[in-house]
Symmetry: C2
Subunit: 208 residues, 2 copies
């Protein structure tokens, strides 16, 4: 049922539902109607039902959604029931911030190594994670069953890093470098272009 | 000419054009046809012309776009010709990473202070920027002509911080907290929901 076509917009809403359900679950809310969920999320109720119907729907008509059950279902759809071995490439500001975030471990993202070209960083640890020489990315991926990489390098080296990751059959790339990477469809790529986001904000400030 | 309605999708493409033109400018490219630009950007040429027409168009038919001129024009539209006094709220991993990024200064974002509630952080400096007590946000905004704030707090305190910023007439909020903030339309809000982005990636890895 997950194989039918799901639009980009629906995919992008899934984590928002998941986040809201986590919040409701933490507050002890056991069930919620699509109407109440729509008010919480600033989406209309029919949109929510349509989104959930892409995955077979999760509600019992008239009873609303069971919060914990729905959260777990969405978590499975998002692949959060699985474990991911991760490497970070680039030990700059963003690479360090991601390595320092302790929440990843609870979410089953195991950051196993950080790679850099800077001789002063190599051999150090960040939040207990070793910083290795970037020359060893390929062998490390093979030896450690790495499925995901976070690219936190400058724009100028991001494509080269991406090519190495692709050659080594990485499954997913989370790219923080301000570069549009050329990456085959067989590898999932998700960009966080921070400066693009900041410039949308400055646009809005000046055109609000 | 900037007052006519510009769609969200067009606004989100503007920083990508700007980034590409910066790259071309650095490579010494002086002019580029919309066709060549479209190939560089994986967008079709008519889309690019339509996007630019929202702002009056910038091309001379048959001559292509002057790279430097177009870059500067887009920079103005994005508000990058102006200066912004900025505060960061939250001296955790992301707040530190943003404070540590030296590129902001070159782009005329002046980070004047970082605010936190943690007594051990208050009084220290990050990349030369003072960390102050979060109790003093209001007075600091007034005294330092702050127009923009980066929220880097946990989700649980983000709304409270947002309310303080709004009360003090901040113009723009760049929100990194994993929370959907309630913010009046008079204040521009741009979210970077990192975990949402990561979960889109895990979804794709499992449904590629």
């Amino acid at each position: 049922m997950q194989n039918k076509y799901v639009s980009e917009a629906v995919i992008r809403r899934l984590p928002k539902y998941y986040r809201k359900l986590q919040e409701l679950s933490q507050k002890g809310v056991e069930s919620i109607s699509s109407q109440a969920l729509s008010e919480e999320m600033d989406l209309n109720a029919s949109q929510i039902r349509r989104d959930f119907n892409c995955f077979g729907g999760f509600g019992q008509q008239g009873y609303g959604y069971q919060v914990e059950r729905l959260k777990n279902k969405l978590g499975e759809i998002l692949g959060l029931d699985k474990q991911y071995n991760v490497i970070i490439i680039g030990a700059g500001n963003i690479g360090r911030a991601l390595a320092g975030y302790s929440g990843f471990k609870a979410q089953r993202f195991n950051i196993l190594g950080i790679f850099d070209t800077d001789k002063d960083s190599i051999g150090t640890k960040i939040n207990g994670i070793d910083v290795y020489d970037a020359d060893n990315i390929s062998s490390f991926i093979k030896q450690n069953n790495i499925s995901m990489a976070f690219i936190c390098t400058p724009a100028s080296s991001a494509q080269k890093v991406c090519d190495i990751l692709v050659e080594n059959n990485i499954k997913g790339i989370w790219n923080f470098a301000p570069a549009d990477l050329n990456c085959p469809d067989s590898v999932s790529l998700e960009n966080v272009h921070l400066s693009d986001s900041l410039f949308v904000l400055t646009y809005r400030i000046n055109n609000n």
